[in-house]
Amino acid sequence: MIAALRRALARLASLFTRSADDRELDEELELHLAALEAEHLRRGASGEEARRLARQELGNLTELREAHRATRGVPLLDSLWRDLRAAVRSLRRDAALTTSALLIVGLGIGASVTVFSVVDALLIRPLPFADADRLVWIANGESDNLSAQTTQVRNLQELREAARSFDDIAGFSPFYGVGDVRLTGDDAPERVTLVPVTAGFFPLLGVRPTEGRFFTADEARWGAPRTVVLSHGFWQRRYNGDPAVVGRGIVLDGEAATIAGVLPPTFDFAATFTPGRPADLFEPFPLAPETNRRGNTLALIGRLASGATLEQAAAEAKAIAGRFPVGREGDHRRNKLDPNLSPLRIRVAGAFRFGIGVVAAAVGFLLLLICANVSNLLLAKGATRRREMAVRAALGAGRGRLIRQLLVEGAVLATGGALLGIAVATLAIGMIGSLQGTAIPLLQDVRLDRSALLFAVLATAVTALGTGLLPALQISTTSPQAALADGGRGSTRAGGRLRRALVMTEMAVVCVMLTGAGLLTRSLINVLRVQPGFDPSGVVTVRVDPDASYRTVAEQVAYFDALLEQVLAVPGVETAGLTDALPFGNNFGWRRWNADLPGQEQEDGPKPLVRLIDGDYFHAMRLSLLTGRAFTRADDATAEPVVIVNEPLAQLLWPGRDAVGQRLRSSGVIRQVVGVVSEARYFSLEQASGPEMYFPMRQSPHFQVIDLVVRTPEGASTIAPALMTALGRVDRNLPAMTVRTLTRLMDDTLFTRRSIALLVVGFACFGLLLASLGLYAVIAYAVAQRRQEIGVRMALGATPGAVRRQVLRETLALAAAGMAVGIPAAWLTSKAIRGLLFGVTPTDPLTAVAVLSALVVVAALAGLIPARHAARVDPISALQSG
């Protein structure tokens, strides 16, 4: 055992001392020869004779040196090097084939490494926090919407006190907007994004400041002087990474604040928690009665105590929250808490887990196709090389060596392709990293790192084996005699069957990919066809919330009046309105208030979404008013409270009756219904909003964010300058916010669906190209092989047309066999993507027909060229060449 190990090590070591070892052996042999010669001389042989005898006795020196080298070294590595050089030579001979194989493998590996990197960042790699496995997201209720998952301050405090399965629970307020806060007091004034977090938030995540410190308990008290912590990016951008910034005073919305510390570069708040809404500053969120009154404000994160499981924590949190005095008998200011726990990792990747999985599966299929295709190319090459292989086998090359050489060829192709693929992936990953403002979390963390490279190596190994194995097996199962006797045409019955099976598999795989692509495309089209209830085209919007200087409602109303007057005077503006809940705007559209018939208040009655509007909002949005009237300027604080309901709410409260003129009670106020409007899709095109009600802003000034909505036939860029000038006339402090179009906002909500569909369609098309190439190669090769047979048939009277038809028939039969397997397989796999489908079923007949016709057309095209070649065979030359 030890001896064997020593020997293996010595052999490996000898790889590096090869020439020295050779020289030493030569020296020994020389000495040996001289001694033998001397001995023969002593015995009386002549000089010439003695030398001859000595050589004879020592044996063939060249052979001995070879054998010595083999004994000494690692024979496999030695010959592997030879195989490698032979493979490169052989691949260079077929430059066209090699180039296409390299390109195919390169694109395939590039695509799979890119997708892996995204999967890794989103699903595999731990979140960039200490001991991130123990972090738990504590949602309130079952909603997918971040704002609707928030919890009241009091509930957080009591849960934190009582729960034993958590080390700590902290939270942040997700109700911040990008550029909400005006920063002045040092350099140029700037709109910044400020996120309120509870004092325990950063310590809970295990984040440490690179400069200064985080918030003290004192600073987190209600009414304490403002302190902020800077994000690393903001610190670099505005303060050039100056450490002296700690302790400096700044002014936020006219209020003095002190910089307490700076976050590390690894902490990217927005990428993890609120993708698309990057944060510049953080301030303490006081846990106080004053903030408790605001209702549900905090998104909660807990750290599990050691030894506690997620299930225990969930059960405990539910039990604690169940004891909170909420409801009619309890504190009417107290909101319900329905804790819904999930690992933070899952919550962050959230809705994208599934889509990413689908894309990863598509890439997997693509890689399979690539293996099949390159394998096919090598098989075709192998068929023409059968004679070479047969000759080598006849000359004594072992079967193992021939197989090894083909495997090495596959490996060389795969490695070359992988290098290309890594270049492709580097480009693609760079592009993904620069995608800003998407709703997909952690995209900035996508990078080509060690695990991605490891994956590339694995994919390469799989490709190498997948491409080299079949040709190697095929070559090795034919006997040299058969191959040689065949005169080079090759009786590749077995090989032909193998290649046909490969092409059929390719067709089946493409079937699956195309079906998925078709279903996702149809879903996207269906979503795009959804009527959101308003007309987003021709609407531009600007954030215009009044700042703290407008203290009273009257002042705010005056501000709105002036603003609308100025905006309506801008040439090109058709009409304009204001809203606190811009569709697709991700602001405050989640807010639900009770709406009950007066005198019939119920705990679990309807809770419609609340929208505050002013101006000509319905006309600007082209939201159709079904009956009744819109709000006017007369619907102010002095007039009777009014409300406009949407159709679902009208149906819910007054089924079968006219809602106009009815009354409803909401938050203690009885309002008269003056109109009914159609339903507007607020969150996304896929999701209906359900019951909604609109209050006039003048009667219910409980807004946090106000968006101006302008309908104009001009483009956003055309009207923007005049619009901003008009706004500046109202308030020169009005922030220079960007003018956005509603269409753009709607497109952003479709980003994920669109990307997934685009990627899957792209991969499927690439797959279709590969499969058609494979089909073409098989048929073309079969035609070339059967030239003589075709010649005979034509000499016996077959027309070119008949020959052409036969080849086409064969091609289509091959494709059909693939589809026969592919369509049921496609239906089975499509069930898995049901969650992404919209308005189509997995077995959508239209998609199936489209896929089948696409495949038939492509198969016919692939068969056409070989069929024409076959029809053009000249019987005489074909028979003579045999």
């Binding site: 030890i2 052999r11 020994e28 033998l36 044996g59 063939n60 020196l61 010595h68």
Partner: protein, 115 residues
């Protein structure tokens, strides 16, 4: 096939080299071949080069060691000597060989007795 014969031969040659080196102390390649040749009559007459394959294998296994020295006529030569592991191996192989030889002798004489 030829493989088995050379395997036996290889094992035999290994044993011969170990035994010779154990008896004679350190020897160079030619000296070893000469010594084995004179002990084994004609067995190694055909191809003395084989001994070098045997030597490199034994060195790799750690049963013999090699060092450069001076030959009788003062030329640079590589000398081989048995190591402690080699001696242990030699004892084991000797026992083994004796057993096999005994079995073979018994077997062959039994076959010879059959009418």
């Amino acid at each position: 096939m030829g493989e088995t014969r050379s395997d036996i031969l290889q094992g035999t040659l290994d044993l011969m080299v170990l035994k010779t080196l154990d008896q004679e102390g350190s020897l160079h390649g030619y000296g070893l071949a000469h010594r084995i040749e004179s002990l084994s009559d004609n067995l190694l007459r055909v191809n003395q080069g084989t001994i070098y394959l045997c030597l490199v294998r034994l060195v790799q296994k750690g049963w013999i060691s090699s060092s450069w020295g001076r030959s009788e006529n003062n030329r640079r030569a590589k000398f081989y000597a048995i190591t402690r592991a080699g001696r242990k191996q030699l004892r084991a192989e000797t026992d083994n060989w004796a057993r096999i030889a005994g079995v073979m002798a018994k077997l062959l004489s039994a076959t010879g007795a059959r009418p």
